[in-house]
């Protein structure tokens, strides 16, 4: 293949990345140095006074980020939510994916269909469903509280708690963990497990020495697909967490919609993007090391 045709091939993805990633990022970066508009939006970035141009740009927004530790704490907290959600998804999703991949061919398609079935209804509708489940008069809360009552523990509210947020985030993102894991596990050669058991490995040893290491690319892919959207999540903590479980996504949304401070919202957005890229990069490196000894 000639040099030109090779470059032609990489053109579509390049254009795609440019339009949907690079340009928006540059716009955000630019916005983060501007002043907020009086009624939301952005103030003009230059003014003409006495016939000469003046730039109206500022470091203020970035200074504000580092003035207090509150935003750092928010990032760390969001990271915590993302890690916990990803870990629970992995814990629940791995056995599920393993079970599906080892079930009969005929049943497999049905099970996969059931796993992606929730996607057929709207995301918000599913969150509202959880609001009903967690509501103080809901069956779940009543059951939990009557159980706690037996042990003399004061009733709790499930709604507007970190627990509710995590449960719902796990529920929403579980398929993103299960599908890449399944795609990986399904490709494993069953003869490898026969060989392991033939050579003296018990059930657990077969899992830890053969299945698990071979599934790491799937674990990694699934974890990224859960981790990234959860890190920036705002809808679920908004609706199920109230003021008790605020994540960085909520604050960004707040800046753009309620506080009408687009420049500071941009600062936080850029930080979220940087944090995500950095974490995924770190993950790739350690994932690479695991794979190659």
């Amino acid at each position: 293949m000639g040099r030109w045709s090779r470059q032609l091939l990489t053109l579509p993805p390049t254009i795609y990345l440019l339009i949907f990633f690079a340009i928006p990022t540059v716009i955000m970066l630019f916005a983060s140095f501007r002043f907020p508009g009086d009624y939301g939006g952005l103030a003009p970035w230059y003014s003409i006074e006495d016939g000469s141009y003046a730039f109206d740009l500022t470091w203020e927004n970035w200074q504000r980020l580092f003035e207090s530790t509150i935003y750092l704490e928010l990032f760390v907290k969001s990271l915590g939510y993302a890690v916990i959600t990803t870990a629970i998804c992995l814990l629940l999703g791995y056995p599920l994916a393993l079970m599906v991949s080892r079930s009969e061919k005929k049943r497999r398609d049905l099970l996969l269909l059931l796993i992606i079935l929730p996607f057929w209804s709207n995301f918000l509708v599913r969150i509202y469903a959880w609001m009903i489940i967690f509501s103080p008069t809901g069956a779940l809360t009543m059951a939990v509280n009557s159980l706690l009552d037996l042990f003399g523990i004061a009733p709790v509210s499930l709604m507007y708690s970190p627990t509710a947020v995590i449960v719902c985030m796990v529920y929403v993102h579980l398929p993103f963990m299960v599908l890449p894991l399944y795609a990986n596990l399904e490709k494993h050669d069953p003869a490898l497990l026969d060989a392991a058991s033939d050579l003296g490995a018990s059930g657990w040893q077969r899992f830890w020495r053969v299945t698990w290491p071979l599934s790491l690319p799937g674990v990694y892919a699934g974890s990224i697909l859960v981790f990234i959207p959860v890190l920036g999540m705002f809808a679920i903590p908004d609706l199920l967490g109230g003021t008790n479980a605020i994540m960085i996504g909520n604050v960004i949304k707040q800046q753009f919609i309620e506080s009408r401070d687009w420049p500071f919202g941009s600062v936080l957005s850029i930080m979220l993007t940087i944090a995500t890229i950095a974490l995924v990069w770190l993950g790739t490196r350690s994932g690479h090391r695991v794979k190659h000894g």
Binding site: L192, D194, A195, A196, D198, L199, G200, Q205, K291
Partner: protein, 362 residues
């Protein structure tokens, strides 16, 4: 050392094994030979412990193995596609069974190196299986299966993925290796040539049963059924009726061809009037334009129907009577240059009375 008694196995309605009995001695190179689907792998997987028989016993050195999981049997397998662990290096693959047996780390290193030396790949310890050739993977799979010194090594068509040259070389290595380590080998193949070359004894299987169990030369020269005669090597099968017989000889009337006298193998008895099959290996038939029949030879006239030049030999199909073809071989050693025949040539064929083997067909 391994005794198999009355093993049967059904998959749904399909009977994969129908009452198999085997007795395999210590240090033997034993082969299960049969066409695809005859149940060889199923039997091997039962010995390894991956399948349970519906009925019957598997005794390893007197102990019943049925119900013992594979990881607790002193039996290791070389799988058809090697089943090397792709995420482990060659050394880690070979160390695996030793680690499972909790052998000490420094002893593991020594034994892994020894195992690599045994299969002539001493410097491949750090390579990953993906970086090896087919023959090398094969050797590593064998090294891994032998490193823990099993009582019994099972090999399921281990050479089928290799090209012809490599296969021949590996056959020789396998024979030598088995002699060296002295471990009992049970070898599965559908390739009769491979079975004849490698084995001390061969069990020919057909449709879940053992058709014949014997030493290679015995199987080749004295097949006990049409199936075995046909499956092992090339064979002419001529239908005949017994006209007279004593303990050592039988006179036959070959249908549509004529009378012939054959000597009988000790195990074969026939009675007058019985229908039977005369098996004749192509290389035992003499073919020429004008034969001077020797004592104890029968000869017939025919026409060349087909010739097949194979390089080292030429196969001639001789039509003895309408629709009855006899295959004969002529080595292309140069001495017979004058005896090349073309299709349609008239020729004579002859064979010694001890060349044919009689199968009493029911």
């Amino acid at each position: 050392m391994l005794e198999i008694r009355g093993i049967s196995k059904k998959f749904g309605d399909f009977e994969a094994l129908k009452g198999v009995d085997l007795h395999i001695g210590a240090g033997e190179f034993f082969t299960l030979l049969g066409p695809s689907g005859c149940g060889k792998t199923t039997l091997l997987r039962m010995i390894a412990g991956f399948e349970a028989p519906d009925s019957g016993e598997i005794l390893l050195e007197g102990k019943d193995m049925v119900g013992t999981p594979p990881e607790q049997r002193p039996v290791h397998t070389v799988f058809q596609n090697y089943a090397l662990f792709p995420h482990m290096t060659v050394a880690q693959n070979i160390a695996f069974p030793l680690q499972m047996a909790r052998v000490q780390a420094d002893e593991i290193d020594a034994r892994v190196q020894q195992a690599l030396d045994n299969v002539h790949l001493p410097d491949k310890a750090g390579a990953y299986p993906a970086a090896l050739s087919g023959g090398q993977r094969q050797r590593i799979a064998i090294a891994r299966a032998l490193v823990k010194r099993p009582r019994l090594l099972l090999l399921d068509e281990p050479l089928s993925a290799l090209d012809a040259k490599m296969r021949e070389q590996m056959q020789i290595e396998l024979i030598n290796l088995q002699k060296e380590v002295g471990i009992t080998f049970i070898y599965v193949t559908h390739d009769q040539g491979e079975a004849l070359a490698l084995s001390h004894r061969i069990a020919v299987m057909n449709q879940g049963k053992i058709a014949q169990l014997d030493q290679p030369a015995q199987l080749y020269n004295h097949p006990n059924s049409r199936f075995v005669a046909d499956f092992i090597g090339q064979c002419n099968l001529l239908e005949a009726t017994v006209t007279d017989s004593d303990r050592h000889h039988a006179d036959l009337e070959l249908h549509h061809i004529g009378p012939v006298r054959v000597s009988l193998a000790p195990a074969v008895t026939v009675t007058k009037g019985q229908r039977c099959l005369l098996t004749l290996r192509p290389e035992k038939i003499r073919i020429a334009r004008n034969l001077h029949a020797l004592v104890d030879e029968t000869h017939f006239c025919g026409k060349i129907h087909d010739t097949l030049y194979l390089g080292d030999v030429t196969v001639y199909k001789v039509e003895l009577a309408q629709g009855i073809l006899l295959e004969a071989l002529l080595a292309n050693s140069g001495n017979h240059a004058s005896e090349r025949f073309a299709v349609g040539d008239s020729v004579e064929v002859a064979w010694n009375s001890s060349a044919g083997h009689l199968i009493a067909e029911p």
